[in-house]
Symmetry: C2
Amino acid sequence: MKVEILSVGTELLLGQIVNSNAADIGSRLALAGLDHYHQAVVGDNLDRVAAAIRHAVERSDAVIITGGIGPTQDDITRESICAAAGVEMEFSNAYAERLRSWWARRDRPMPETNLRQAEYPAGADLIDNPKGTAPGLRLRIGPAWVFALPGVPQEMLPMVDGSVIPFLLEASDRAGAAIESVVLRTYGESESRIAEILDDVFESSVNPTMAFLASAAEIMVRLTARAATAEAALDLIVPFEQEVRERLGRLVFASGMEPVESMVLAAAGEHGWTIGTAESATGGLVAARLTAIPGASATYRGSIIAYTTELKHELLDVGGAMVQDLGVVSEQTAIAMAQGGAVRLGVDVCVAVTGSAGPDPLELEVGTMIVAVRTPDAVKAKTLRLPGDRERVRTYATTAALQMLRLALAGEWWH
Amino acid sequence: MKVEILSVGTELLLGQIVNSNAADIGSRLALAGLDHYHQAVVGDNLDRVAAAIRHAVERSDAVIITGGIGPTQDDITRESICAAAGVEMEFSNAYAERLRSWWARRDRPMPETNLRQAEYPAGADLIDNPKGTAPGLRLRIGPAWVFALPGVPQEMLPMVDGSVIPFLLEASDRAGAAIESVVLRTYGESESRIAEILDDVFESSVNPTMAFLASAAEIMVRLTARAATAEAALDLIVPFEQEVRERLGRLVFASGMEPVESMVLAAAGEHGWTIGTAESATGGLVAARLTAIPGASATYRGSIIAYTTELKHELLDVGGAMVQDLGVVSEQTAIAMAQGGAVRLGVDVCVAVTGSAGPDPLELEVGTMIVAVRTPDAVKAKTLRLPGDRERVRTYATTAALQMLRLALAGEWWH
């Protein structure tokens, strides 16, 4: 069962939004073991959407279209499906009634334009949208199944999980089609260095395959195998995974996709320690990543963001003399921030980040970032020199701070 | 000159990363007035990449390929171009020498696998990569130009700006091909309500066109016109923009893409006021957005993130009795946080956010978020009820906090 994704929206072509929908659907197709080889994006143009649908149904068994089924004038996916399938538009009185009562329940008058959402290409079944007003569509064009879903992720993804993927699994006779992946995540070496270490391991292997992916400061190694069952696919991966782990040693810090911030919270919890953060140049990014994890409040207490020298002094007890002697940004300052943060926040573990993210150099070269970690066992700092612009420097420094927190909590302090 | 984008990488299909490259290139093509109707994604598979290239050169005048030209074994874009163009692979001794000296300058041994980057399809010109080791490629397949660039954005985008777009502009005889867009950004009403207000304005207009885009709590209205020159295109937009602005009134808060956090910093600067933040449920996201703006330190001083009741008390002076009487999360608490934050951070303006982002309900229903803003003129709070999961609630509350900060700084307090 080959499934492809067609995203409709001029805002995607213009780069006003990023196509996270295709990524979210793609990861779900992989998990379900459905083949997925193509994604396409077209703008809000009837002829081009229709042509893209026709091209997709020729090479794939199913096409998931997202976007263009909302209530506004630029939503033309329904019309494009009619054109591609050569069918007329029909109107569902039952759905129109549902739309009216949806708005009535919210005590708001329904904009009349919303009635467009009760239109559907002849022959299509409507797919229930539990989170919104635009129903999805499912119909056959030639031998392929075509699904049209809303572009809003909060509405679209529950429909993919609840309707589209169960339907495709049911419709496919996919004996021998399980795909399994193991992802080993590394920290501390470049992508090309890791590729070199593993160069010969996969030389003669087509199943499993190996791929590399750099994500901020982390490099992922992905092993993917295909077999009759999920168990058989995983069995194929085992010896390769073992070899990769042996060669990479401590560079591998995780398998799977659990973010490092979640590992940090769990590790601190095991010690019975609370965590706080003291940030300057990263301006809240470390705190934001830790608090993005549900249940963070069991371990994480808070943060002081001191964006000025005075606040470093007043709120983090970074000494005035020290600031004068050592400059605002030094390993000693970062250590003082981590110590002061631990006291002021009343936490066992505190990570501090300071430095120069650019674009204008302060007393340090842009990209020089300093991270300090304080635990009940020790306190230590490290200076990083990061390439790129302000956003990249801040993002990499945030990942580095979380990775160093992880290392410190594991007792693997750096040198 | 029709330009399309082909992104190569199995990690995109698997949803392990989001295709921000296509968005970044797309926005640059739009700015340059180059037509851009299609984007496609394929995995690291020689046959499928070659087929995608052949399909693209049939319908477009230029194809920008990103990804798959790195040093590792899964990088197969060069081979795929050879297959699509029907040419042999050649080897550049000159580039091999450059690679060796690049690594030598960094005092590191070059992994031998990097030499693959000196290979190129016969007939291709190498495009200089100022930020990395993998050169880009440019060659003709049939009547179309094909460009291959690295997948790493920090290397790829300077090559698009410095080489690809200037080349395409030079190569195109695009009289009458200027595209101009005006984006009006609104806050305070739903997409369908705004579409209804504007329903008849564009009914008979094909130039300019109108499109809507929801981005967190903001709805953008984009007017796009095409004409012989940029000036003529903008002239076409003027009367429509005027009508849209009249109908939407104060809902429109900006044209263009300047983020609200940047507008907030500028507005505070005009008053001569400093800004601080006091966050609970958003855990640093408001601070992170403000400090992402270069030069934020001129206005922004810092933040206290109090993720526990005790820290709200200790660091923000939120009274113990109040917490007991009113619950941890109330408008009174948010106001006390904003007041306490202003004092402790020594700032004129402080925004506070507290609430319940989920997934587990605290004493409040999940999605109930409270924002308070304190300026030297007044202090006021507002309770929001936001749908969606933890990530969405935190993101929307962050945008709402910045929007309310903007309104307060403009003296437009809510009721």
